[in-house]
């Protein structure tokens, strides 16, 4: 968990967005929602062109050499920005908690990794904890439930921040699940390496979501969202699934994850 600094420095204004590979490929709207929220909070946002992925697939598969190479590339791409903002708890956790440990034998790179770690933030935590944002200007007519993605929750302490911002969204009601903190079974490559276990886990998650009666499921990590959306849709449930940033940025009218454009 990142501990908040004792004295708050002036909020950074020039921030870099780490889009993440899943958002880039499957849900660009999340990136644009993040840009909008950051701009509304007074930041200028840049998207460094040489970013790709944070390296989790390699890291979690035990391929340390590739992970280091990818991490070094990310460290270069985000050098010089006051803050690096990520609309994903697991990619954020990767930058904040795991990069420095990759360079234990290289003090120069380790220092750079630690510097990046200090500047990196998950999106909702950056808005609330660093910029002090209390409300957003958005409307969403519906009852939502919020899934706490594991890395955001346990590595970065993201729990209250999205809820606090959601509370300011007009027309939105939040109804909590029984176990919002239990893993949805995504786990990156886990969900395809152990599909039966993953299915059992996401099946329970789906039952918990449905039991709330909410019409919309939100979370802050696209991997989990795609997994849960895929399961809910396979089961024929009428629950729309969105990244929390979309709703906070007032973009809750675009087609939900896994839904065709025409049905909007």
């Amino acid at each position: 968990m990142s501990t908040p600094p004792e004295v708050r420095p002036a909020p950074p204004r020039r921030v870099a967005l780490f889009v993440t590979c899943l958002v880039d490929l499957f849900r660009p709207a999340v990136g644009f929602a993040a840009v909008k929220l950051l701009e509304q909070a007074g930041c200028t946002v840049e998207v460094p062109p040489l970013q790709v992925c944070c390296g989790q697939p390699a890291y979690n598969s035990g391929d340390r050499a590739s992970t280091r190479a990818i991490a070094a590339q990310v460290i270069d791409a985000f050098a010089g920005f006051e803050a690096v903002v990520v609309p994903s708890g697991s990619c954020g956790g990767m930058l904040v908690h795991h990069y420095p440990g990759l360079f234990d034998d290289d003090p120069g790179m380790k220092a750079r990794a630690e510097d990046l770690a200090r500047r990196s933030h998950e999106l909702t935590s950056f808005l609330v904890d660093v910029l002090g944002v209390k409300t957003v200007a958005a409307r969403y007519d519906g009852t939502v439930t919020y899934h706490d993605s594991c890395s955001g929750l346990r590595e970065l302490g993201v729990k209250e921040q999205p809820r606090r911002l959601l509370a300011s969204v007009e027309g939105l009601r939040l109804r909590e699940m029984q176990t919002p903190e239990i893993c949805c079974g995504f786990g990156g490559t886990f969900c395809v390496k152990y599909p039966d276990i993953s299915n059992a886990m996401v099946g329970e998650k789906s039952a918990d979501v449905v039991a709330t009666g909410a019409d919309t499921l939100l979370a802050g990590d696209l991997g989990c969202l795609m997994n849960m959306a895929g399961k809910l849709q396979r089961e024929g449930r009428h629950v729309r699934v969105r990244h929390v940033a979309e709703v906070l940025a007032g973009m809750g009218d675009i087609a939900a994850i896994g839904e065709p454009e025409a049905k909007r």
Partner: protein, 475 residues
């Protein structure tokens, strides 16, 4: 115990298809974690105690040779004996010989995971000595010829009905011919059957939760009091414990006991805490005349001083498995060897080899819930990742996964090329999935689409393509 860890995927299939198991797991998942949460909440200094518990174990491990020798000296001064067992086979042999030296026909055992680890029961049976499990859960699974499925609740995979059937089958010849349905009746019947066996046993064998160096005591906690009977009544008491159980002082034990019970069952403390300090003294009313401690290494000392040492802090509370969503889905037997759940995924490759147990550290989403509840703060996900790295280095990772990963990493290290490929992939996925917004089947993604739809990206291209198109502005 014979490992089936290499059959992990088949074990998983069987576990998911077993309705009794799924029934039992559903109860376990809410019960244990809720009780632990409440216990932790009731104790304001719980988090600080966890830090102290971690530090105590770290200190003991950093000076393990010193405290083990100290412990040995104390036991000997009390008139007891200490036996060093480098391997499981050594431990079996030592215990077998001790039992034979007193002509033992039966051994009353109280729950010991180390005894499972060295497959003691099979060995004793081969010697014509009958092991009798005195822990209720262990007794039930002994009757059913099953291994434990949980380190503190060995029969947690069974429903009450299954236990009722097992008792009827095995107790009917003893005159208990009524099928019982109430939990208390089942316990009473087991007690009745077991009590005589306690009295008849020639040797009592217990595990140990802690070995206290300053006093030479072994410490054992139970909720049934069975350990007290297995170590006071028979004439010989054997303590079987692994080397990392030693801690410096009784005061340290007090700290560890406080986090152990709360983490395990949510109790303030376990119902029985027993200290065994040497054989019966002259003025004692009862107790064993011979007292032996068998200290098992079995590969643990090779972990000392490595990045994996943290795994030896484990105090076997079971919290990591109680909170693990993977354990919650498949139960303990699927892990295929003695120690299930997150700690099993870390220990098993160490104890029986990563070639045999390579699936275990991979079958985790790294959700981190285990680490968040572990009373001695073992970084379980980090240790599992360590095993994945060893597997990758040694080319034990499946070939297709390696190739896929290598291809992906090659592109990921060439951002411009990657960008172009991502744009093509995005376009194709968006175009073909346009009508429905998702895929019910997708080539090469069978693991996903067998159970889930796969969301198609909306039209318009990747984020980076759109961003470049608008010159760095929101559309």
């Amino acid at each position: 115990m014979q490992s089936t860890a290499h059959d992990f995927k088949d074990n998983v299939g069987a576990a998911l298809a077993d309705p009794n198991l799924q029934d039992s797991l559903a109860k376990l998942k809410v019960g244990f974690s809720e009780r632990r949460r409440q216990a932790a909440e009731r104790l304001p200094e719980f988090e600080a105690l966890r830090d102290r518990a971690r530090d105590i174990k770290d200190h003991a491990l950093a000076n393990l040779d010193f405290y083990l020798e100290e412990f040995e000296r104390k036991v000997m001064a009390l008139g007891g004996h200490v036996h060093w067992a480098p391997t499981a086979a050594d431990a079996r042999q030592i215990i077998g010989e001790l039992c034979r030296s007193v002509g033992a026909r039966t051994v009353a055992k109280s729950k010991s995971m180390v005894a499972e680890e060295i497959a003691l029961n099979e060995h004793l049976e081969a010697l014509g000595i009958a092991p009798i499990e005195t822990d209720l859960g262990e007794y039930i699974i002994q009757l059913r010829h099953e291994p434990p499925s949980h380190i503190i609740a060995p029969a947690v995979h069974l429903t009450k009905d299954q236990v009722a059937d097992t008792f009827l089958e095995h107790h009917a010849p003893l005159g208990f011919t009524r099928r019982l349905t109430e939990r208390n009746d089942l316990v009473a019947e087991a007690r009745h059957v077991l009590r005589q066996k306690f009295l008849d046993a020639d040797v009592g064998l217990t595990g140990a939760n802690f070995l206290v160096a300053e006093t030479g005591s072994s410490m054992l906690v139970t909720n049934e009091g069975n350990a007290d009977l297995s170590n006071t009544l028979p004439k010989m008491h054997i303590v079987l414990a692994s080397i990392e159980k030693v801690i410096p002082t009784l005061e340290d034990a007090a700290v560890l006991l406080r986090v152990l019970a709360r983490s395990a069952t949510g109790q303030e403390s376990s119902a029985y805490t027993t200290l065994n300090t040497g054989p019966k003294r002259n003025d004692d009313l009862d107790g064993p005349s011979a007292y032996h401690v068998v200290l098992l290494d079995n590969g643990r000392s090779s972990v000392l001083g490595t990045k994996m040492q943290d795994m030896l802090r484990c105090i076997r509370c079971g919290a990591c498995m109680n909170h693990c969503p993977v354990y919650g889905a498949i139960g303990g037997h699927a892990y295929g060897w003695v120690y299930p759940g997150p700690i099993g995924a870390v220990l098993t490759p160490q104890l029986i080899g990563v070639e045999e147990a390579g699936d275990l550290p991979n079958a985790s989403t790294f959700c981190g819930r285990c680490e968040s509840v572990c009373p001695v703060r073992i970084p379980l996900p980090r240790l599992m990742r360590h095993w994945r790295e060893r597997e990758f280095e040694r080319h034990l990772t499946p070939w297709t996964a390696r190739q896929g990963l290598a291809l992906w990493a090659w592109f990921a290290r060439r951002p411009r090329l990657y960008r172009g490929m991502a744009q093509i992939a995005n376009r194709m996925l968006a175009m073909c999935g346009r009508a429905e917004g998702r895929y019910r089947m997708l080539p090469l993604a069978g693991g996903w689409t067998r159970f889930r739809d796969f969301p198609a990206p909306p039209p318009g291209g990747t984020f980076h393509a759109q961003w470049a198109r608008t010159g760095g502005k929101r559309p």
